[in-house]
Structure formats: structure tokens, C-alpha cells
Subunit: 207 residues, 2 copies
DNA sequence: TGGTGTTTACTTACTAGTAAGTAAGTTTAG
DNA sequence: CTAAACTTACTTACTAGTAAGTAAACACCA
């Protein structure tokens, strides 16, 4: 009764997501995917008739995974600081995993050259991420673990912007740049800088 | 005696830069340029034999213009706060001019899919911009007009990251997002928020 | 001053490669 | 035996890039 899951479809999404983060939407092709997967061009068209649909599917899956991640942490009552650091760990993984960029940043950089349905999906993803972060920041402020001026929404926007920019700049300037920005963000939130030698590593892999 | 300046070459660079900021490097073609300019494909190849060379030329010209801008302000002794706001005005113009992204951000987003010589040019541009901003921040701190923790280099990195990210996010989330980030950055630098209704507009067009 | 190269700035007309996308046939598992 | 998951073989459109030709401006010299 359950759908006869082919794992090719998921493999296509995995590969597309990876290529998106490495090259951007307009610089990867069905050929790139099919070669990496060892299937033929048309196999991808079977699962995703056109590239816009594939793009939307990648973004929506990414957003679903993000929501699941948030839900998991909310269920187990993760505290604001751990939440923030868990969130930092996402782009950090991208960076370590072959200098990948964040999908949101890539797609917003190419915003003028992606299909309309993808733009809508990007807007949704952007709103959802900022919504999550706003909550975490606001909670942290109420619990006196973060200090900042202005609304939590504004601060969340600044943090997301900085992370997104930093991840991109790190591709040109190296990994250290990203760590620096994270440290600076925490500093600006009034988060105690425990550790000093061990710091950056263990601090951020979190979970 | 002076070189017989053709303005086609400059027009090509203008168009390429504009297309780069709107669509990204891999989503614009020689056709796009030639159509917009009313010349033929091959005319562009005459001035820029290959696309990598065109890309490098765009970045290097952008960097030269940036250096000229900095030099002009240094000569007339522009103060740190005005310097900072003048710098903010650059991406602000991009945003108002048809939701363009910053060339640096676009190219770093596509970093995995641009030719090597372009990567070098991007690295140089990135270093130069951060170098300028570090100086302005450091001077401002010495003159007690900015307050921040950590090195000026680290703070500059955060500011550049945030601006770059914010400019991209504004394409999905609207102009207001960018203004918000600028306000938040100034707040974090301890800059007095004069005005309240007139604010954002007149505050930022600067000069 | 006039004629003769030469250079600049293109156009016309092409190539080879790659892009997304499709139609029709084949394999395989339930 | 049927439907899902492909492959084979193709099309159309665009990509960067090239080769060869041309018109006009310039450079130099007698």
C-alpha cells in the first residue's frame, strides 16, 4: 500500500541540493546530476519534468527538514543558547563540507534569474528561518541569557544576514572568517565567552 | 596622442556589471549584452575574447572605482561616521536601482562555478573593502564616535557580512529589511539615532 | 596634398558543445 | 499483466567562441 519508494528521487534531490550550494542554480544542469548519479538525463526528467519544479522541490524539502529540526529541539526543550548554537552549526557544516554556500543566499543572489515559483519558495523559507530565530532570541532575552536592543525580529534579521554573508565571504577569505563572525555575534548578544583555547571547535559543533 | 577611446568597451562593462548584479555570472550571456547594446555578439568577443576575461575586467574596474571613491573621501578628510554612511550608500543604491545585489556577494555565491582568475580578483576586492572599513572603524573608535568590542578587523568583517547578506535578503523580503539591518548596525556601534521620522531616508543618502 | 598601408572596431556567418525537454520503447517488480 | 522506473534517441534553443571580411579612421611619407 505504501508508495513504492524509489530512492533515485531522493538521490536526485540530494545531488541537486549539493550542486546548488556549490555552483548555484543556473550553473548546474541535469547532466551534472545524471553523471554524478550514474543515470541518464531523462531519468531526472521522469521525476522532475522541469528544472523549476526540481528547484522548488529542493527548497521545500530543505524547509521541511528545517522545520523538523526546530520541532525536535522544541520538543526536548532545548534552551535558547543551545538553540542558537545548534542553528549556527548548520552553516558551519556547509562550510566544512566543501565550502558550500547556504541555499538561501545562493538563490537570493540569483534572484533575478530564477523561475517565479522558486522565488515564492525562497520567500517562504526566508520568513520561516527568521521567524524561528526571532523566537529563540526573544526567549533568550526573557531568560536574560541574551542582551540586545531593538526587536527580536530586527536582531534576527541582522544575525541571519551576517551568517549568510559570512558563509559566502568565507569561500573567498577562508574558514576563519566565518568563525570570527560567529564569535562577534555572540559577543554582541552578551554571551559569555567561556573557554579560550578549546573554544571555537567544541563550542560550535554542538548537540 | 591620447588613445582613441571607444565607448563601446565601457558600455560592455557597464552592461555586464549590471547583468552580473541582476542575474549572476552564469546566468548572463554575450547575447544578453549584445542585444541590450545593439551590437553583435562578436563585437563583445573583440573587446573581451572570453567570458572569464570580461568577468575579471568587471571586478577590477569595480575595485578601481571603489579605490577612487575611498581616495576622494580621504583627501577631503571625511570623518568616520560620514565615511561609514557613505559606504552604506553604495549597497543602498544597488537596492534602489532595481534590486541589484552586490557584485561581491553574487560572485562568492557562485564561487564554485567561476573561472580561477575571477576568484583571485574576488579575493582582492574582498580584502580591499574589508581593509577600508577596518580603518574607518578604527579611526571612529579612536575618535570615540564608534564603540565596539574586538578588533576593528573583526567588526569590519561582521559589518560587511551583514550588509552583503541583508542586500540579498532584501530581494526576497523587501527594501525595509535592508534599512533595518543598517539601523541595527549603527545601534551596535553606539551611533546616536538622531531624527525619528525623517530618519532612514535622509540619514543614508549621505554625502 | 594625396596616396598607401595599417589599425581599430566592428559585422556576417559559422562551429562545436551543452542546455532543457520529449517521445517512444524496455525492463522489472508486484 | 500492468504500472513504475527507467533508457535510447532525439529536438530545439542557446552557449561561448572563431574565421573571414569590411568600412572608416589614422599614420606616414613623397
Amino acid at each position: 500500500m505504501s508508495p513504492p519508494r524509489s530512492n533515485t528521487k531522493d538521490a536526485i534531490l540530494d545531488t541537486a541540493e549539493s550542486l546548488l550550494q556549490e555552483r548555484g542554480f543556473n550553473a548546474f544542469s541535469y547532466q551534472h546530476i545524471s553523471e554524478q548519479l550514474g543515470v541518464k538525463n531523462a531519468a531526472i526528467h521522469y521525476h522532475f519534468p522541469n528544472k523549476a519544479g526540481l528547484g522548488v522541490a529542493v527548497i521545500e524539502r530543505y524547509n521541511r527538514n528545517f522545520h523538523d529540526w526546530v520541532a525536535r529541539h522544541q520538543q526536548r526543550g532545548t534552551k535558547p543558547l543551545a538553540m542558537l548554537r545548534g542553528y549556527f552549526a548548520i552553516p558551519l557544516r556547509f562550510m566544512r563540507d566543501g565550502q558550500k554556500a547556504c541555499p538561501l543566499g545562493v538563490l537570493e543572489a540569483e534572484f533575478g534569474a530564477i523561475p517565479d515559483p522558486m522565488r515564492d519558495a525562497v520567500r517562504t523559507l526566508d520568513a520561516d528561518i527568521r521567524g524561528f530565530l526571532s523566537e529563540a532570541l526573544e526567549q533568550g532575552r526573557q531568560q536574560a541569557v541574551f542582551q540586545f536592543n531593538g526587536t527580536a525580529q530586527d536582531k534576527a534579521l541582522l544575525v541571519v544576514s551576517a551568517l549568510q554573508g559570512a558563509l559566502q565571504i568565507s569561500r573567498a577569505a577562508g574558514t576563519k572568517a566565518f568563525m570570527t563572525v560567529i564569535r562577534q555575534i555572540e559577543r554582541d548578544l552578551g554571551v559569555e565567552e567561556q573557554r579560550d583555547k578549546i573554544s571555537s571547535q567544541s563550542l560550535l559543533v554542538s548537540r
